[in-house]
């Protein structure tokens, strides 16, 4: 067994060789915890036993990944996620029954037949973990938000936008031109609103950038990026801000009413406490100063 603490949630892997599996990755060892008393939020059993429900799924959602494809089936009482590697020779199935325990302290137990022999096993593992983690922490006011996140004077600024908008480019400009900055995470940081002030946490999921910081800071602002032939930043109204944030949350958890309810509750808390901006920008130094001045001055 091996335990991680990700955004202060205890995650457990069970099964033969799980410690060796985690040790082979660059990202998970940073999140090991020796805390053996805390109750886990999620348990992932690498036991090879996945028995899909006998009933028909309520809904089936197929989608492509950069290195494979997925089918997610939604049942009344569980989810069944199947991932295929790029050459379709390997598949991993993840089954999540309904959580056990009190509503305030649920334990989500997943079972998987994860193939460690697949060439893309690390990529598949991360995808599977992101889904499992996001689902298990959904009603704990926790959300993984697709963004590149910078820390400046020990407060966080998250930059959101569709793929190719220049999130990473923009945070690189901060690192280069603004003092007292570091990158917290470049792809999948996690926010929690069940804190006195909303916080942003580093995670094991950082896209192509090896930036797996197990740290958290107070969240100062969130900024939606849009490419433009000029630099301009504007504070967004609640409705526009909500429209800017929702597409940066996991799409697979927006298909079902009860999941979307949880996402909306967390976003609602976030929007009432944290300013959201739209930054129309060029990929230049002035863009970094424009967003810095709006957020931190």
């Amino acid at each position: 067994m091996v335990r991680f603490s990700i955004a202060d949630h205890i995650i457990e892997w069970q099964g033969e060789g799980v410690k060796e599996l985690a040790d082979k990755t660059p990202n998970y060892p940073r999140f090991y915890t020796t805390d053996s008393d805390a109750r886990p939020r999620m348990r992932l059993c690498f036991d090879g036993e996945v028995t899909p429900p006998a009933t028909e799924p309520l809904l089936t959602h197929d989608y492509d990944l950069a290195e494979g494809r997925c089918t997610l089936r939604y049942y009344e009482e569980c989810y069944l996620l199947t991932l295929w590697s790029g050459d379709e020779r390997f598949s991993a199935t993840l089954l999540c029954p309904t959580a056990e325990g009190a509503e305030s302290e649920p334990l989500y137990t997943y079972h998987t037949n994860f193939p460690t022999s697949a060439p893309e096993w690390r990529y598949l593992l991360d995808h599977l973990m992101v889904f499992a983690y996001s689902l298990a922490t959904l009603n704990a006011r926790t959300l993984l938000i697709h963004s590149s996140t910078i820390v400046h004077t020990e407060r966080g600024a998250m930059f959101l936008g569709e793929s190719g908008t220049g999130k990473s480019t923009h945070t690189r400009l901060w690192l280069k031109h603004i003092e007292d900055c570091r990158l917290l995470n470049d792809d999948g940081p996690i926010i929690r609103t069940d804190r006195p002030t909303p916080r942003v946490y580093g995670s094991p999921w950082s896209g192509k950038t090896h930036c797996y910081n197990n740290q958290s800071v107070e969240l100062a602002a969130m900024v939606r990026l849009r490419q433009a032939p000029y630099n301009r930043i504007t504070r967004q109204s609640t409705i526009t801000a909500f429209g800017a944030l929702l597409p940066s949350c996991l799409p697979t958890l927006q298909k079902r009413e009860r999941d979307l309810d949880e996402i909306c509750t967390t976003l609602s808390e976030l929007l009432s406490k944290v300013p959201i901006y739209l930054l129309e920008c060029l990929p230049d130094e002035a863009a970094a100063h424009t967003s810095h001045d709006a957020i931190f001055q």
Partner: protein, 89 residues
């Protein structure tokens, strides 16, 4: 006509919104914002068959509008819902 059962009003930081998920992926999701009159009409008409005349009756009854004004507002409201694909005929 009927309000599609999969949609509901959610309260987001004090605003009333409907999240209308796209058919295939999230990029086509639209967010519709409702004022208090729209919320009242929505709640009164959800879960049942209705005609524009029912909307007119609510507006006349609850807001004391003339039939002429109420008819115009009701038609506009139904048209907005139709555009946002929140209604099935």
């Amino acid at each position: 006509m009927r309000i599609k059962s999969e949609y509901k009003i959610r309260k987001i930081a004090g605003e009333n919104v409907i999240v209308a998920a796209g058919a295939t992926n999230v990029n086509t999701t639209s967010i519709i914002s409702f004022n208090s009159t729209s919320v009242e009409l929505w709640n009164a008409l959800s879960g049942r068959e209705f005609e524009v005349a029912d909307v007119v009756a609510i507006i006349m009854g609850d807001y004391g509008q003339s039939e002429e004004v109420a008819s115009r507002d009701a038609a506009a409201w139904v048209e907005k819902l139709r555009e946002a694909k929140l209604i099935e005929e």
